[in-house]
Amino acid sequence: MEVHMDMDIDIDFIHNLHFSPDTTNTTPSSDDDYGCNWNHWSPLVNWDAFTGPHDDFHHLIDSIVCDAAAPEYPSPDDHGASNSPSASITEEDDAEEETAAADDSKGLRLVHLLMAAAEALTGATKSRDLARVILVRLKELVSHAAHGSNMDRLAAYFTDALQGLLEGAGGAHSNGKHQYYMTCGSHHPRDDHHHQNDTLAAFQLLQDMSPYVKFGHFTANQAILEAVAHERRVHIVDYDIMEGVQWASLMQALASNKTGPPGPHLRITALSRTGAGRRSIATVQETGRRLTAFAASLGQPFSFHQCRLDPDETFKTSSLKLVRGEALIFNCMLNLPHLSYRAPDSVASFLSGAKELKPRLVTLVEEEVGSSVGGFVGRFMDSLHHYSAVFDSLEAGFPMQGRARALVERVFFGPKIVGSLARIYRTGEELEERGSWGEWLGAAGFRGVPMSFANHCQAKLLLGLFNDGYRVEELGTNKLVLDWKSRRLLSASLWTSSSSDTH
């Protein structure tokens, strides 16, 4: 089953759905639950409690409710197959088709509900009560469980996100990801360790089940290798080093040149953040130790430095130690699934630092977001499309490994969904449509560095290892985009200061 989220649902679509008006004039029941006796599925909705003259909306909700109200007591698994007696009679094929169709229609219903909820939260028909009602309904339909469908889980995370917004939890959580994960994750006393282990396990799985991480790392690394081909000293400033996985393969490539002149000395400066408590610094230090050991095992000359960001995570070039004669590289990985959110100001300060220091190369990897017209709902739907593609991509490669996928989704994508929607919601109307960081670099005077044939070739080969559905797109001369079936997900681009001299 694959719920194709390529359809462009817009608000008008919903309102244009013509449903036969049911008798929605119900007897107003008790006020405390607004007449929504959801548990019994009777359409005793006191619509008067909701403001708004939008009958279409009411009809939509009603149709969804009535549609779902089965003759028998409904199970949480709202598959059409269970409602229709014909499914059991006919051959397997028919039943499968029915189930598939039911799945699709359920998926569609979930999308409608989610959109309605998003609308209710922010749209013209803004009504928190309506939103609450819809979310209750959604929560009955969706599930985080591994054995469920992609759509179920995807909708579950989006429901969580919306619920969070409703409850006002969409506050300024730089650590929202962590919090969210904890609330829907482990129950063990040693949460910390399990959390860490979950994260590591999920990270391993993410890398093995999808090309996202490798695409970013390898494309950047190949470009770096090409840019420093005959240098004796290389200095990479890494914006968000995390576990340092990116540099393992770079070191291997640098150290593996058995013939010819010895490879360059590699120096990596990792930015560390003081704001997140001591953990970030400790992590970076640990990463440094690990990288040093790894380099030693390869015989690669290496040194590691930390550069502390200010508490507000602004980067200052003065805090960087530079050596004459070294080829400077700025490496900026953003939005990869395992990376935390970084505030735009912080990223901007880093890239501004790059402008000032004129590095040989700036490697940028970031998420591709669709056009974000239509305010919150528009961006909500875009986000839904985006993560639907991601979930699908994992499933297509590993259809039987539901648990593994569910773990990766829970650890990485769920929190990302929650966090990003909270930010979109919070910034509200003031959020001007921020372009990509690539555009920012272009506007700031950087010029693109052409992506080499070898790099493009590597990307294609890499994707070929995973699944047919992944594509590499060349956008302009300096950018490669990783697509899942026509949906752009991730881009890697190369830049250099226009006034820097190229060796």
């Binding site: 040693r190 979950d198 996985v245 648990r403 996928r405 294609k460």
Partner: protein
């Protein structure tokens, strides 16, 4: 990648004598009779592949069945399918992009065009050939490097996981008396496990699951850990499970020739991915990383390359068989101290 001396690809260069067998197959009369992939035969091949859903879904066995050509063996089909797949990948671009980008297409396609078009002769042909050769060589380089890089990254991940495991092992020792978990692991066993070097190949395919919950999924562990506690993140080799079965051999791939799949490569049966039915295992990691009882040792270099070229998807849909599961752990325990990067066969050599 497809040097002209291979008769099956370069129709125009082939000078060997050919005989037509009873089955309608054209075989050469060299000492080693080689199948000649004529245009018609190839067309049938392409049709069969298309019927089966594309080069990634089709297998030599099914192709053979669909084609129904007598005298065509699995060996023939296997190598031809590989080349087809290889040719197909960059070939995607050829259809979608401009003629200029078509230069990047695989030699198979390009050379076929050259061979069949009588207009392309003389200097132009040489230039094009050289360009093609150059691109192919570059592509080979990229491929080789990619393998090494993925492997390096895998080793690095392994070091992370090992460290985390050790930390956790220490932690668990401290909190042994504190409860808080679904079971206590056998400390002695964990210690032993912790000291092992992780074999580097075991996780390279997707395997059937075991009953083990928790993220410890090296095959060393399966019989050791009864507990359902989530002990430790995945502690097998960090290598991608998607690709190769052999670190060392990949590093030996220095020359172009080794990257070309030898024609007579026996298609080693079922070295496919096996999937556990969801009910079998209760652990996400074991879904992906449990070992499987298939011999990976002894496969030739070319074979690995086949796997690398083909999408993993190819080999995935295969019923889970684990007849040898109980036996697996003992050789692994013995082999546990093997240094990283060595090939380990679960069934002895």
């Amino acid at each position: 990648m497809f040097p002209p001396k291979k008769p099956s690809t370069m129709n125009s260069h082939d000078r060997a004598m050919c005989v037509q067998g009873d089955s309608g197959l054209v075989l050469t009369t060299d000492p080693k009779p080689r199948l000649r992939w004529t245009v018609e035969l190839h067309e049938r091949f392409v049709d069969a592949v298309a019927q089966l859903g594309g080069p990634d879904k089709a297998t030599p066995k099914t192709i053979m069945r669909v084609m129904g050509v007598k005298g065509l063996t699995l060996y023939h089909l296997k190598s031809h399918l590989q080349k087809f797949r290889l040719g197909k990948q960059p070939h995607k671009d050829f259809n979608e992009h401009s003629i200029k980008d078509g230069m990047r297409a695989s030699a198979l396609e390009l050379q076929r065009n050259i061979g069949s078009s009588s207009a392309m002769i003389g200097r132009n042909m040489n230039e094009m050939q050289m360009e093609v050769q150059r691109r192919l060589h570059e592509q080979l380089e990229v491929q080789k490097n990619l393998q090494l890089r993925i492997e390096a990254q895998g080793k690095y991940m392994q070091s992370i996981l090992e460290k985390a495991y050790h930390t956790l092992a220490g932690e668990n020792m401290n909190m042994k008396g504190m409860g808080g978990g679904q079971g206590t692991p056998d400390m002695g066993v964990m210690k032993e496990f912790g000291s092992l070097n992780y074999p580097s190949f075991q996780d390279l395919n997707l395997y059937g699951g075991d009953q083990l919950e928790g993220f410890m999924t090296s095959n060393n562990n399966e019989s050791m850990f009864e507990g359902k506690k989530r002990l430790c993140p995945y502690s097998g080799s960090g290598k991608s499970p998607l690709i190769w079965s052999d670190d060392l051999r990949l590093q030996d791939l220095g020359t172009a020739s080794s990257c070309i799949s030898p024609q007579e490569d026996p298609f080693k049966g079922d070295h496919k991915v096996q999937i556990s039915p969801p009910s079998m295992d209760s652990d996400p990691m074991s879904e992906i990383y449990d070992t499987k009882p298939v011999v990976l040792h002894g496969e030739t270099v070319g074979n690995h390359h086949n796997k690398f070229d083909a999408s993993m998807k190819l080999e995935r849909p295969s019923p889970q068989t684990s007849p040898l599961q109980p036996e697996r752990s003992s050789p692994m325990i013995n082999a546990g101290s093997v240094a990283q990067g060595t090939i380990i066969s679960p069934f002895g050599s």
